[in-house]
C-alpha cells in the first residue's frame, strides 16, 4: 500500500540551528500539506501546495520557515533559525484533490529544540 514518506523521524537540535524535513507524497497526489502538531492539539496547517504552487501559507512564520515543492513531487520544510517554541511534531500529508479526498498522513518528524 502506498504511503507518505517523511524523514527524519526524530530530530534534536539546539536553538539557532537550521533544520530541514523531507516529505515524499503518494505518487499522483497533487496536493501536499505540511502541518505542525503540538501535544494535545489538532494539526495546524503551515503550508499547502497544489502541484508546485503554494495554495496557502498564511500560518507559516515566514521569517524563519520556508517550504518548497520544486517539481511538484517531494517537498522540503526548513526552519532557520530554530527556536525553543518550534518543538513539535511536523506532519506531511497528501491527497488527490484537496476538497473531496482523504488526506494520507506520513509518520511525522518529532522535533526537539534544546
Amino acid at each position: 500500500e502506498a504511503e507518505v514518506a517523511q524523514s527524519p523521524r526524530y530530530k534534536i537540535t539546539e536553538k539557532s540551528q537550521a533544520v530541514a524535513f523531507w516529505c515524499d507524497p503518494i505518487s499522483g497526489h497533487a496536493t501536499l500539506y505540511w502541518y505542525r502538531q503540538i501535544l494535545g492539539q489538532g494539526p495546524e496547517l503551515l503550508v499547502q501546495f497544489q502541484d508546485e504552487s503554494v495554495v496557502d501559507d498564511s500560518q507559516l512564520p515566514k521569517d524563519r520557515f520556508s517550504a518548497e515543492r520544486l517539481k511538484g513531487v517531494d517537498s522540503t520544510l526548513k526552519i532557520q533559525p530554530a527556536e525553543l517554541g518550534d518543538s513539535a511534531m511536523y506532519l506531511c500529508a497528501s491527497s488527490l484533490r484537496a476538497r473531496l479526498d482523504e488526506q494520507f498522513f506520513g509518520p511525522g518528524t518529532r522535533l526537539t529544540v534544546l
Binding site: 494535545g40 494539526p43 495554495v55 496557502d56 476538497r99 482523504e102
Partner: protein, 111 residues
C-alpha cells in the same frame, strides 16, 4: 477559523456508544474525520460533503447539518480499538479548500 469539538474527552466501556460533535462559525462545504492513536499519525475515517454524499469507514457513522454548520460522529458498540483522539477537519465553502482541524476529542474505551 478552527472548528469546535465537544466533548473534550469521553471514557466508555466496551460496547457503549459515543457521539462527538464538531461545529463551525463559518459555512462549510465538507467535514473530514480522523482518528489519531498515541504516537501515530492521523488516519482517515470519513468525509461528509455538502449535498449529503458520505464516505464511511468501519462501523462508524456521521451526519452533516449544513444549515447548522455542524457534524457529529457516531461510534456504536465501541471496541477497544476505537480508543484514540478524534479530529474533525473543515474546509470553507467556495474558493480553495484550506483545511482546519479542531482540538480533538480523546476517547478511551475500557474492557
Amino acid at each position: 477559523q478552527q472548528p469546535v469539538q465537544s466533548p473534550q474527552a469521553v471514557i466508555l466501556r466496551e460496547g457503549e456508544d459515543a457521539v462527538i460533535n464538531c461545529s463551525s462559525s463559518k459555512a462549510l462545504y465538507s467535514v473530514h474525520w480522523y482518528r489519531q492513536k498515541h504516537g501515530e499519525a492521523p488516519v482517515f475515517l470519513m468525509i461528509l460533503l455538502k449535498g449529503g454524499e458520505q464516505k464511511g469507514h468501519e462501523k462508524i457513522s456521521a451526519s452533516f447539518n449544513e444549515k447548522k454548520q455542524q457534524s457529529s460522529l457516531y461510534l456504536t458498540a465501541s471496541q477497544l480499538s476505537y480508543s484514540g483522539t478524534y479530529f474533525c477537519g473543515t474546509g470553507r465553502s467556495g474558493g480553495s479548500y484550506i483545511p482546519t482541524f479542531g482540538r480533538g476529542t480523546s476517547l478511551i474505551v475500557h474492557p
